[in-house]
């Protein structure tokens, strides 16, 4: 079969981007056409990935891999991006800030994420990461009249470039020590090099560069500022797709560590990142008054939980991370989706107090947000519970029970600030009076996300079986 057959999901996205450019240029009503066209592209790309999920194959001179978990990732990215696009339609109307490139940048960033997931070579990882990051830098500041957005964009760009510097330096060190950039080569010869300090330092630098994107401690400082300053919908994509793509890149780069027994020399680093991220995220989130900042710290904590899966260094950990990422994508898009609906013009109603009495004003929104908060807090029977459950099981199996215990303690702390939202919504009277504009597409997107949160919570095994089948 022709190699191009296997990369149909990529081709669909790339073609979609090119066509959108044309649409944006020649149609005056592109604000109406583009979102639906990009949703169509995302769905076509996502479902073609799902369709090809059984054709596991390495193509283009060991550069790209398709099929299996790669396609699973691509499906999640596309579905997440489709939901974010759905959210954006009314959000953009509310702010009157339509720029044609918005949707095109969204699509390009997804293409970058897909490349990162499918990478079989360090160069491809770098390429994917840069495609994604550049799009994110631009997206963060898309509302160019807003001072905070400009600040977020610039900060993100500066710190992001700084982190990418380490990533490239790491790649150089790895290449220098093994004379090759192929990840397959790295996987097969890992044990040959794992006493070489330059090689190990190189891999560590790659980890640092990617840790920036997953928002793990101590590379997390940008997260609250950028999430808060960017458009809410952009934050939704950055916190889900961006994080998932970086995790997929870590998983392929550290494949030998994660699948071959007794090679996990990185366990202490993963462990330290996990512990600090979880505790720091959960503890600092408590003191937040702005809901987007709270979600940012929650994002840091969740990066920590997922890093436990890396520290475990077994296939349970890998499938646990992938399941967690799927769950987290839907939870977070749901949460940011509701924030974007409740949010008024000019950044109003973004404090936690704005949610007081929401259950009376908007019972459906409140109900959906309550489900999402329960899920983020890790309570059954929602997706978030099983995400944590599989990760903690992986840690216990890797004899890292102490890490699982820290995770549980951190979860317990985090329950406080998630449930506080529910308490505010249901048991407190509204202090300020404001009108929440109806958003049908936004609501639809949130409902779809919540349905997935429930589905993954009720039937997690069927999903985890699918993932573990490929994780081997």
């Amino acid at each position: 079969m022709n190699e191009f057959y296997y990369i149909i999901p990529f081709i669909i996205l790339a073609a979609g981007i090119l066509i959108s450019l044309v649409i944006e240029m020649y149609f005056t009503s592109s604000e109406k056409i583009l979102p639906w066209f990009s949703i169509l592209t995302f769905l076509a790309s996502g479902f073609s990935a799902l369709f090809l999920v059984n054709n596991v194959k390495v193509v283009f001179e060991n550069m790209l891999m398709s099929g299996g978990n790669v396609n699973f990732f691509i499906f999640i990215f596309n579905l997440g991006a489709a939901l974010v696009t759905l959210l954006s339609i009314d959000y953009i109307k509310k702010y009157h800030t339509y720029y044609g490139e918005y949707y095109i940048l969204l699509m390009s960033s997804v293409l970058g994420m897909s490349l990162m997931a499918g990478a079989k070579d360090l160069i491809v990882i770098f390429m994917g990461l840069e495609i994604m990051s550049v799009c994110f830098y631009a997206l963060a500041g898309i509302n160019r009249n807003k001072l905070k957005a400009n600040e977020a964009s610039l900060k993100y760009f500066l710190l992001g470039s700084f982190a990418t510097g380490f990533l490239v330096y790491g790649m150089a060190l790895v290449y220098g020590s093994m004379q090759n950039t192929s990840l397959e080569y790295l996987f097969l010869n890992f044990t040959k090099f794992n006493t070489n300090i330059l090689f190990l330092a190189g891999l560590l630098f790659i980890l640092f560069g990617l840790s920036f994107k997953i928002a793990a401690f101590p590379f997390h400082m940008w997260v609250p500022d950028v999430y808060q300053g960017s458009a809410t919908t952009v934050s939704a994509l950055m916190s889900t797709g961006g994080k998932a793509a970086a995790f997929s890149a870590i998983i392929v780069s550290f494949a030998s560590v994660l699948t071959v027994v007794n090679t996990n020399v990185f366990a202490p680093y993963f462990g330290a990142i996990a512990v600090f991220s979880m505790l720091f995220g959960s503890i600092v989130a408590i003191a937040q008054t702005d809901i987007k900042r709270m979600m940012a710290y929650s994002s840091i904590a969740h990066a920590g939980y997922m890093t436990i899966g890396l520290a475990s260094g077994n296939s349970y950990g890998v499938s646990g991370i992938i399941f967690y990422l799927a769950a987290y994508t839907f939870m977070n898009i749901g949460a940011f989706g509701i924030i974007s609906i409740v949010e008024g013009k000019n950044d109003t109603n973004l404090t936690i107090k704005s949610y007081a009495g929401l259950a009376n004003k908007k019972p459906i929104l409140a109900g959906l947000l309550a489900i999402i908060m329960f899920s983020l807090a890790g309570l059954p029977p929602f997706a978030g519970f099983f995400g944590k459950y599989y990760i903690f099981i992986a840690a216990v199996k890797a004899k890292l029970t102490w890490l699982a215990i820290v995770g549980v303690i951190s979860s317990a702390i985090s329950v406080y600030f998630y449930i506080r939202i529910i308490v505010l919504m249901y048991f407190k009277e509204s202090e300020e009076d404001f009108v929440i504009e109806n958003s049908n597409t936004g609501l639809l997107s949130v409902i779809i996300a919540v349905l997935f949160v429930i589905l993954l919570g009720i039937a997690p095994n069927s999903v985890i079986n699918l993932i573990s089948y490929f994780a081997k």
Binding site: L154, I197, A201, F208, F212, P218, M221, A287
Partner: protein, 646 residues
């Protein structure tokens, strides 16, 4: 249809979701009612399809499992959402959806004009969903899910009219009582489940039962498992000592009493014991316990039923008493007879409750029988159907109750002994007496209400047609279980249908020698003649010579007050359990343990965390250079560690 059995479970859930989410916006009562009843009606059709398909299969292929997905997989524990379609679950499923459908339709008339019409139907559908999980689940976990689910729905529906008064308290108190008492039973059931998992390493029915068959009899662990499971059953099915919640459950709307507290939920315990027949058959001591508890419950509840004046209370005690019969049947190893009585009881007791509901409806929520009388001429349809049900429960041939009750009594005699039979037959006499006391006081004689202010009327068709359907079922429902001596070579059709399921249990039980057919007919005749006499006596006393009743009450004042106050069981529990536990909870658990120790620790931790939180957040200065510095610090620390660890 077997492979689509999950539809029978999902349709009620769908009905619950539609009415529960959108119900408050649907202003049209008819739409809500049709959605609610329609979901159950369709579910009944699915069950019916599955039933006929199973009927067409050879006997050894009648047990099918429809697996949907793996629900929990943790270590050795593997729990699937899978539905077991076999002889027992089909019978129970048909009862639940069939009688459930009739009661849903009836409710459309009964609940007409209620301000929470939609909430009522949503709860009712949720109940059927939970009950179907209980019945169809192929493992203990799913059974337990349904078990808890029906408990929750029962709680919600007992307290449905949360703003109304009930006896000395409110309906919410009655609901709470039902919930708490059920929890005690559930605790036993949970312990039983844990023990099953420990012993057999699985919670799947097929695994557990096939391993149980292989194990030798009289292993003491069987005794404990069976005991714990039976404690669970006494809670759900209102047996001694946990029956106290059922009379109070009458605080709910009457159709709820018919559906949940008579026809279906309370028989869950019977179903569970029958399902675990092999475990119980391996624990002879517990079998005896089941029989004795059942018999005592039947007897004592019937005595209390003799003197109650509230129409629903009489029916409530009658239900407890009939459930006692079912456990008696299970205890003597006549599992299919117990299930048979579950079925016929569902017909006639639902009919009795719905008839009572029709009366209460037309009497403006008056439930005291002393304020009824002569309603026959106002409500002819209700009267006739009610009499049919009363005859059925009294065991008059050839109505359904006769066959099922007599089979239990005969099995009690042949496998248990003469004592069982005597008490059981005497209870049957009392049943006939109090039922016709109720009929006579309510429908016959002269009106004892103010005919100028109260104008009783026949209920609308949507209520009377369900009554008629149930009346027909109460009449003919027994014919599928005609005992062998009458039906000849075919044997007892109902028993033969269930026989393959109970065969492993039967082989473990000791078999008794055959008794003569003459003896069986003789005992049958004795109980029928006794029942007829009791009916005639009741009519004589309450129609012609009410003074006898008064005299008897005076002559046995002590006994009468004892019965009227239900043996003071509630007061006893209050004094022995509730009060001391309440005092202990308040003085120690609340004021010291909760307030000081737990709250202290929690609040202390919380304030500590929030102090830490407020301090750490200060490093978030907003200066980008500082952020980069933190990153570099982290990297340097990691590199340092890399170097020293090599």
């Amino acid at each position: 249809m077997i492979q689509y059995i999950y539809l029978a479970v999902l349709l009620p859930l769908l009905g619950f979701l539609i009415n529960g989410i959108f119900g408050s916006r649907i202003k049209n009562e008819k739409v809500i009612g049709i959605i609610g009843s329609g979901a159950i009606g369709l579910s009944f059709i699915v069950m019916l399809g599955a039933f006929f398909q199973t009927l067409g299969l050879p006997v050894d292929q009648r047990q099918n499992i429809v697996k949907l997905f793996t629900w929990i997989s943790a270590g050795g524990l593997n729990v699937g959402v899978a539905y077991q379609v076999d002889q027992l679950s089909l019978i129970m499923g048909l009862i639940v959806t069939g009688v459930g459908f009739i009661i849903h339709v009836y409710s459309m008339g009964y609940m007409h004009g209620d301000k929470s019409y939609w909430r009522y139907f949503a709860y009712l559908n949720l109940f059927i969903f939970a009950m179907m999980n209980l019945i169809l689940g192929d493992n203990f976990v799913l059974l337990f899910l349904g078990w808890e689910g029906v408990g929750l729905c029962s709680y919600l529906l007992i307290g449905f009219w949360y703003d109304r008064k009930f006896e000395k308290g409110t309906t919410s108190e009655a609901a709470k009582k039902a919930f708490v008492v059920n929890r005690i039973g559930d605790f036993g059931f949970l312990l039983g489940m844990f023990l099953i998992y420990l012993t057999f390493g699985s919670l799947n029915f097929n695994d557990v039962f096939s391993r149980a068959v292989a194990m030798p009899i009289e292993t003491s662990v069987f005794t404990f498992i069976a005991l714990f499971l039976f404690i669970g059953a006494t809670g759900k099915s209102a047996q001694i000592p946990l029956f106290v919640w059922l009379p109070d459950a009458m605080a709910g709307p009457t159709p709820v009493s018919a559906l949940i507290h008579a026809a279906t939920m309370v028989t869950a315990g019977v179903y569970m014991v029958a399902r675990c027949s092999i475990i119980f058959a391996s624990a002879p001591a517990i079998m005896t316990l089941v029989a004795v508890v059942g018999l005592l419950t039947a007897f004592f509840a019937a005595t209390v039923g003799l003197v109650q004046n509230d129409i629903k209370k009489v029916l409530a005690y009658s239900t407890i008493s009939q459930l006692g019969y079912m456990f008696l049947a299970l205890g003597v190893g006549a599992f299919s007879a117990g299930i048979f009585h579950v079925m016929t009881h569902a017909f006639f007791k639902a009919l009795l409750f719905l008839g009572a509901g029709s009366v209460i409806h037309s009497m403006h929520d008056e439930q005291d029988m002393r304020k009824y009388g002569g309603l026959k001429k106002y409500m002819p349809h209700t009267y006739i159907t009610f009499v049919v049900a009363a005859l059925a429960i009294s065991g008059i041939p050839p109505l359904s109750g006769f066959f099922s009750k007599d089979e239990i009594l005969w099995k009690a005699f042949s496998s248990g002994g003469f004592g069982y039979w005597l008490v059981g037959a005497f209870t049957a006499l009392m049943t006939a007496f109090y039922m016709f006391r109720l009929v006579t006081l309510t429908f016959e004689g002269k009106p004892r209400f103010d005919e100028h202010n109260v104008h009783p009327h026949e209920s609308p068709k949507v209520m009377t047609i369900p009554l008629m359907i149930l009346a027909v079922l109460s009449i003919i429902g027994g014919f599928i279980g005609i005992p062998e001596i009458f039906s000849g070579e075919h044997g007892n059709v109902f028993e033969n249908w269930l026989a393959p399921l109970f065969a492993p249990a039967q082989t473990k039980l000791m078999t008794y020698g055959n008794h003569s057919a003459f003896l069986e007919i003789l005992l049958m005749a004795v109980s029928v003649i006794g029942a007829v006499c009791a009916i005639l006596f009741a009519r004589y006393v309450y129609l012609k010579n009410i003074r006898i009743a008064g005299k008897t009450v005076k002559a046995s004042k002590g006994l009468y007050t004892l019965l009227l106050n239900k043996y003071y069981i509630d007061e006893l529990y209050e004094a022995v359990f509730v009060k001391p536990i309440g005092r202990f909870s308040e003085a120690f658990l609340w004021k010291i343990n909760d307030n000081k120790i737990i709250d202290g620790a929690v609040n202390g931790t919380a304030s500590l965390v929030s102090v830490i939180s407020n301090n750490i957040r200060k490093i978030q200065t907003g200066v980008a250079q500082f952020y980069a510095l933190i990153m570099v610090a982290g990297i340097v620390a990691a590199l340092f560690w890399l170097i020293i660890s090599l």
